[in-house]
């Protein structure tokens, strides 16, 4: 699913526009795997597995693989449908400099959810 983030975000002109002030890398933790997601003016320029201990991002968002698998379903079950719901349920964690995350929270929520297939009907 993580592979889909880049194309899905970049194909969504409204989302890219809403992220026009965002240029930074952030770290996305899926279970034991960390990925560096780099944003440039709202577009995802790369999503790469973290290779070095020093490869990091302004902030980090982590959850178990099973949690993200549920999150990316067309209609996720409760507590798994939204980053803030995952925080409230204690099944996701955010670290680092939260300021750019807060300044662009809906944008980042939508970037995370970009791989989600549309729900039926």
């Amino acid at each position: 699913m993580i592979d889909r983030i880049r194309d899905r975000v970049n194909a969504n002109a409204g989302l890219v526009r809403r992220g026009q002030y965002v240029s930074l890398p952030f770290l996305l933790g899926i279970g034991e795997e960390d990925y560096v997601v780099t944003i440039e003016k709202g577009r995802v320029s790369s999503v790469e597995p973290r290779r070095l201990a020093t490869a990091t991002g302004r902030f980090t968002i982590r959850a178990a693989k099973a949690v993200w698998d549920e999150f990316w379903k067309p209609v996720p079950k409760r507590n798994h449908h939204d980053l803030w719901a995952m925080l409230a349920a204690g099944i996701a964690k955010i670290d680092g400099d939260l300021l750019p995350l807060m300044q662009n929270l809906q944008y980042f929520k939508d970037v995370l959810a970009a791989p989600r297939p549309p729900r039926e009907g």
């Binding site: 209609v75 996720p76 409760r78 507590n79 449908h81 939204d82 980053l83 803030w84 719901a85 925080l87 409230a88 349920a89 939260l98 300021l99 807060m102 300044q103 929270l105 809906q106 929520k109 729900r119």
Partner: protein, 283 residues
């Protein structure tokens, strides 16, 4: 003339705790008065679908008002030097002042989120003044999971961040049209208002120690919460119900924290039987 909705809005002045407020109130329908309380950082528009539903307005006079500092109700004169913060006392006083000003006789009161919590306070303190209370997404205790300061800072766009904080409180099944209308109201709330309301919601309004004292024989209590609510979760709703003997709790599947606004078609299936039961059983 255009086809107007049956909702009529008016303004009047009301004093609460020494401050005069210009209050905006909307109503529709005839019958038993039903006062509707909007969520934190929002306004009366959340109830617009109920107010245009003849199945409700044929039997109820539905009345919704913007709290002071919300929607088209103004902040008090001199607001610039004050920090808005809603406390339990101020909230209860505001609702009581409103019902008195409107000369409502034992209305049913329904509130959502912080409005759902405050109706439990009303059932405890003012049982005699209300025919029944309906708590939507209202528990006697919730647990904060974020710092309120993020909601009102110079370096974060307030309208955007307030809407983004609550966007996951809308169920994934809810229609996009209603999802984004619900969030739009959050984007329009004045700086610091959602934050000030949440002081009541997250901190000041807890009363799980006193909720067992509510006498549902004097004032029936209905609790309805959405499956996808992350703050007033189904578990917290059921815990609240277990503490309030005689209360009736329902978990609404496929709904989040804003039932009447985010999915009006689904919500009416849950709320119509409750309103019918109150009409048939409560005098």
């Amino acid at each position: 003339m255009p086809e107007f909705e049956p909702i009529v809005g008016r303004y009047f002045k009301m004093n609460v705790a020494g401050d005069d407020y210009r209050i905006h109130v909307e109503e529709a329908g005839r019958g038993t008065p039903l006062v509707c309380l909007h969520t934190a950082g929002a306004d009366t528009r959340q109830y617009r679908h109920l107010m245009c539903d003849p199945a409700i307005t044929n039997h109820y006079r539905v009345i919704a008002f913007d709290l002071p500092w919300h929607g088209k109700s103004n902040p008090p004169v001199g607001w610039r030097d004050r920090e808005y913060r809603l406390t339990t006392d101020l909230y209860v006083q505001t609702i009581m002042a409103f019902c008195r000003a409107m000369a409502l006789e034992r209305p049913v009161v329904m509130g959502c989120s912080m409005g759902g919590r405050v109706v439990l306070h009303l059932a405890l303190k003012h049982a005699i003044d209300f025919r029944a209370v309906i708590a939507l997404e209202g528990a006697d205790r919730v647990e904060p999971y974020y710092e309120l300061d993020w909601l009102h800072r110079p370096d974060v766009n307030g309208g955007e961040v307030c809407a983004a904080f609550v966007s996951g409180q809308v169920a994934p099944q809810s229609p996009d049209e209603h999802r984004w209308e619900t969030l739009w109201m959050y984007m329009q709330s004045g700086p610091g208002i959602f934050k000030g309301d949440l002081y009541f919601y997250w901190y000041d309004g807890h009363f799980d120690d006193r909720s067992p004292k509510i006498d549902t024989a004097r004032c029936p209590v209905y609790l309805l919460s959405g499956e996808y609510d992350s703050s007033c979760t189904p578990e917290r709703t059921e815990a609240t119900a277990s503490r309030i003997k005689g209360s009736k709790a329902t978990v609404m599947e496929g709904i989040g924290h804003f039932p009447m606004a985010e999915n009006p078609a689904l919500f009416r299936k849950y709320i119509l039987p409750v309103l019918d039961e109150i009409r048939e059983t409560v005098r």
